[in-house]
């Protein structure tokens, strides 16, 4: 054996074709896009030779007069040697000798493969602009093909002829095919005509008005309504230098929360690419839907997304800036839209403003916040309050709002992470404001202390109450606060998850837990009695060893309920038993009288 002999390994062409055609293109509709792309590329290539050439694509569907599909363009066409390259280029990299038509031929070959999904045979009849005669290429999905000369005279251009497979015949029905053509080709710059029986339908007659700088806002809104089946609050144009992105952004008219992705319409060189934004929009733009065309970006191999490159990054940045610029100016341009924008999308606006100082300045006064006194704009809060208090989580807010309300203090519920960031940022930008975090604990500390050393009665009350509460794992304090009708307030450390649970003897983690304990000292829950409250005052005189604990228990559970804390079965039982004892004791007293 000659050791230097090199062998070529065999590739099963038939298998390759089926692999490429069925797996590269997951969606059987793809062939429509690929045929359109071939036609568009061919016409574009001819325009480089004759810029006045009026390109046109015609599709003849199978009907009573024919069983095949004819896809015809009047583009540059192919010469015989170019047609031979069809298969030669499959799998070859994009590096091939430059031709005016760029890599039209290579794309043609690969794109055509997708037709084997729906047809066992593909015929291409083509006359090149550089040749007087036309040729016919007939390819089969088993990998064989032959070429014949066409004797009759043909105009310049190409015809692709497909014979629909039985299982895909439905794709060639006029309604279905038309929808697919519209889906991919609605924005293409050359006319596309669909022929079926006697009917001719101009697919892209409406054109891409959204790319026209002269389009009015009403026209843009009408396009948006048609494209997304929903009305919009507003629309504004987008144009970037990087990536050559042009189009329209639409503001959704309803709240979107943070759920789900919006669908868009993204075109690449006027061919539909995706209903995803393909990372062109900033992440915070949940309230925006776009129709965009990119002339200077690249698609990935499957043509379903964009390549993430510098041009895309640049375009993304420009789009982000355009949206921000719009947001900044809309208040001056149309106050009504500005108001609607805020009332609908304030959550998103807050999230953006927390990251963008300029936007923050623009919007802050009009942004609404949830407070214990209802929804208020920041302007209103700022004008009425000397110090602006906020709670960084909903639990604290629930606890604090009632007490604070009684004392006239306004509290903002900054439950979302970005709301807290926003408030801290405002404080940082405007030192004349006083914005402070408040917690049930700090609120408790602001109450008037009661000096029990001056009053042995009170001191005794405190000791006895503490004794009762100890069994409930709760401490006790005595203060004066309004409202007077609130006998006691329960305050528990925030965000604590209970660890009450029988510990498994097999759990070696128990020993490690102290290393992860928060560094701040553990706060025990407190039941704070109001020394100004009538009930508390009369409790001071009650020394009965059954009555006193019962009242404490009742106040304890009542405070839990008032503070909207969860009440466990044990606590509910405690409450019921206490009430029960009081009733029995009341009955006995009644009988004794």
């Amino acid at each position: 054996m000659d050791e230097n002999q090199q062998y070529l390994f065999q590739v099963n062409l038939k298998g390759m074709i089926s692999l490429l055609s069925e797996h590269l293109y997951s969606n059987p509709n793809t062939f429509v896009r690929e045929l359109l792309q071939n036609g568009v590329d061919a016409i574009t290539a001819l325009r480089t030779m004759d810029e006045d050439h009026e390109g046109c694509i015609r599709i003849y569907l199978p009907d009573s007069s024919r069983s095949e599909l004819i896809f015809e363009d009047n583009g540059i066409g192919l010469k015989e040697d170019e047609i031979h390259k069809f298969l030669a280029v499959i799998g070859e990299s994009s590096k091939r000798e430059a031709f005016e038509a760029k890599d039209y031929i290579g794309k043609f070959g690969i794109g055509l493969l997708s037709c084997f999904v729906v047809s066992n045979e593909i015929i291409v009849e083509s006359r090149s602009a550089l040749s007087e005669t036309a040729v016919r290429w007939t390819g089969k999905s088993d990998g064989t093909y032959h070429i014949t000369q066409i004797e009759e005279e043909r105009p310049i251009g190409s015809k692709v002829i497909l014979y629909p497979k039985e299982e895909f015949k439905y794709l060639f029905k006029p309604d279905v095919f038309r929808k697919n053509l519209e889906y991919y080709g609605e924005a293409l710059p050359m006319p596309i005509h669909l022929h079926h029986e006697e009917n001719i339908h101009w697919i892209n007659e409406a054109g891409a008005l959204w790319l026209d700088p002269a389009a009015t806002k009403e026209e843009l809104l009408a396009i948006g309504r048609k494209a997304f089946n929903t009305g919009f609050l507003d629309a504004f144009p987008i144009a970037t230098k990087d990536g050559g992105v042009k189009g329209v952004a639409y503001i959704l008219p309803y709240k979107t929360q943070f759920s789900g992705k919006q669908t868009h319409k993204l075109f690449l060189k006027r061919m539909f690419l995706s209903d995803d934004d393909c990372r062109l929009l900033p992440k915070w733009a949940f309230f925006i839907r776009c129709i965009l065309n990119a002339d200077g970006l690249d698609a990935i191999a499957s043509r379903e997304a964009l390549v993430y490159n510098d041009a895309l990054k640049g375009a993304k940045k420009e789009i982000g800036n355009t949206v921000k610029a719009y947001l900044k100016s809309i208040g001056l341009i149309d106050h009504q839209i500005y108001q609607k924008l805020i009332s609908t999308h304030y959550l998103h606006l807050k999230a953006i403003a927390a990251e963008d100082n300029e936007l923050l300045q623009v919007f802050i006064d009009d942004l609404p916040f949830e407070t214990n006194k209802g929804i208020r704009t920041f302007r209103n809060i700022r004008e009425l309050e000397d110090t602006i208090f906020y709670t960084p989580n909903i639990d604290d807010f629930k606890q604090v709002r009632r007490i604070a309300g009684a004392q006239g203090t306004l509290i903002i519920n900054a439950a979302y992470t970005f709301e807290e960031e926003l408030l801290k940022k405002i404080q940082r930008l405007d030192s004349s404001l006083k914005i402070e975090q408040i917690s049930p604990g700090s609120l408790l500390n602001s109450f008037h202390a009661v000096d029990v050393s001056l009053d042995p009665q009170l001191a005794d009350f405190e000791i006895r109450a503490r004794e009762v509460l100890k069994k409930l794992n709760c401490t006790c304090s005595l203060k004066r606060f309004s409202p007077e009708d609130t006998p006691a307030i329960y305050v528990a450390p925030q965000d604590e998850i209970s660890t009450k649970q029988p510990v498994s003897s097999n759990n070696p983690l128990t020993a490690t837990l102290s290393a992860f304990a928060p560094k701040k000292k553990a706060v025990q829950p407190v039941l704070c009695f109001n020394a100004d409250n009538k009930l508390v005052k009369s409790m001071i005189g009650i020394k009965d060893p059954y009555v006193f604990p019962s009242i404490v228990h009742i106040l304890y559970v009542q405070s839990l309920l008032l503070g909207k804390y969860p009440v466990s079965d044990t606590e509910m039982n405690l409450f019921n038993e206490a009430l029960h004892s009081l009733i029995i004791m009341g009955m006995e007293n009644f009988i004794n009288i």
């Binding site: 759920s259 992705k261 992440k283 979302y416 992470t417 940082r428 965000d495 649970q501 759990n507 983690l509």
Partner: protein, 357 residues
């Protein structure tokens, strides 16, 4: 209203696609409180499991170990009720978490490791993951001898349900080669990851980051630039995952070698991700920060916005590079000392010295 309905409402909100993981965590804590107060252990278990999933993507995982400890207790009390593989998978996270806290003594970690191994064996599962946890730690410590011992041990047992996925194991091997000091070998090994043949939650993003760092330190600026680009692209998909802070640290070092302005932008953007708890994540990030800032003119003053709770924070937003450098250097040194005391070696101090040499 039934409490399960309340919990479901909270869960729906916590599982919205674009919610910040911290906000999701807050909602789950509320849900857990409801389940606990209704003494619904199974629900409490599921919710804790979900909260762990959320916290896994955060650098601050304050509740991590206590959540899991609770789950382990619940499991042991009633093993029939829960999925053991899911539990053991989370056990793996916990082992990392223990290693990354210098206050946990080695003996305790050893006990936990043995408990993990026992549980694997009792269920008839392989112990590859038991070794890979120790391999990971040896790699963090850049302990060449131990790394090679554990790499052999990992490979001495077959893959199983609890061993790391292909992508993660390959990333581990890349780290091994990086520690060995050969960029070329590491890069070659990483090719299937770079080409995204294998992917996982953090792979290949973290692979790109560590290779980018290694490339710039090995004087391979073109490769580094390419890797940086890929890392940035990958980060787009995990925009709120602050557990990646150490990988970001790698990128910051790269930027201070190549594009300082962008480096400062990165610092401003990501500094708030550096967690507030004491972890090895914080050590590695401080080390990278010191290393990056060392490339900058120490006398220069910069305008950046630090997080308001940063020890150096000042309202004027103007800082001297030297002050920032000192801060991070001191922090790295202090952590190195604590970890070395726990680990009974000098591995972290050596790394710090090496990075700044």
């Amino acid at each position: 209203m039934r409490y399960t309905l309340e919990v479901q409402k909270l869960l729906n909100r916590a599982n919205q696609e674009s919610i910040h993981p911290k906000d999701a965590g807050k909602l789950l804590v509320q849900a857990i409180q409801i389940a606990d107060s209704n003494e619904d252990v199974e629900l409490g278990y599921d919710l804790r499991s979900e909260l762990m999933d959320k916290e896994w993507g955060l650098s601050d995982r304050t509740e991590f170990v206590s959540l899991f400890s609770w789950m382990l207790n619940a499991y042991d009390a009633d093993p029939e009720n829960y999925d053991i593989e899911d539990l053991l998978w989370k056990y793996k996270w916990i082992i990392n978490e223990l290693y990354s806290n210098p206050d946990v003594p080695l003996e305790q970690i050893q006990l936990v490791l043995e408990d993990y191994k026992r549980r694997l064996e009792e269920k008839g599962l392989g112990i590859r993951s038991y070794y890979s946890k120790q391999l990971n730690e040896a790699l963090y410590q850049q302990d060449a001898a131990k790394s090679s011992v554990f790499l052999d041990l990992v490979n001495s047992v077959p893959r199983d349900e609890l061993s790391d996925c292909n992508a993660c194991e390959m990333d581990t091997e890349v780290t091994y080669l990086i520690n060995e000091g050969s960029f070329g070998d590491a890069y070659t090994k990483a090719l299937p990851l770079i080409q995204k043949q294998y992917t996982c939650a953090h792979v290949p993003v973290i692979t790109f980051c560590q290779l980018c760092y290694m490339a710039i330190r090995s004087n391979e600026p073109e490769k580094a630039a390419e890797l940086f680009h890929q890392a940035e692209e990958g980060l787009q998909e995990v925009e709120n995952d602050s557990s990646l802070i150490t990988s970001i640290g790698n990128l910051i070092v790269y930027l201070f070698y190549t594009d300082k302005d962008k480096g400062w932008q990165y610092i401003e953007k990501y500094l708030s991700w550096a967690d507030s708890t004491k972890t090895s994540r914080r050590f590695f990030f401080s080390l990278n920060m010191a290393e990056a800032l060392k490339q900058e003119d120490q006398e220069k003053k910069v305008n950046i916005e630090l997080p308001h709770d940063h020890p150096l924070y000042s309202a004027a937003n103007r800082y001297k590079v030297k002050d920032l450098y000192d801060h991070y250097y001191d922090q790295a040194q202090q952590y190195a000392a604590e970890f070395d005391a726990r680990n009974q070696n000098n591995n972290f101090s050596i790394q710090l010295e090496k990075a700044l040499s």
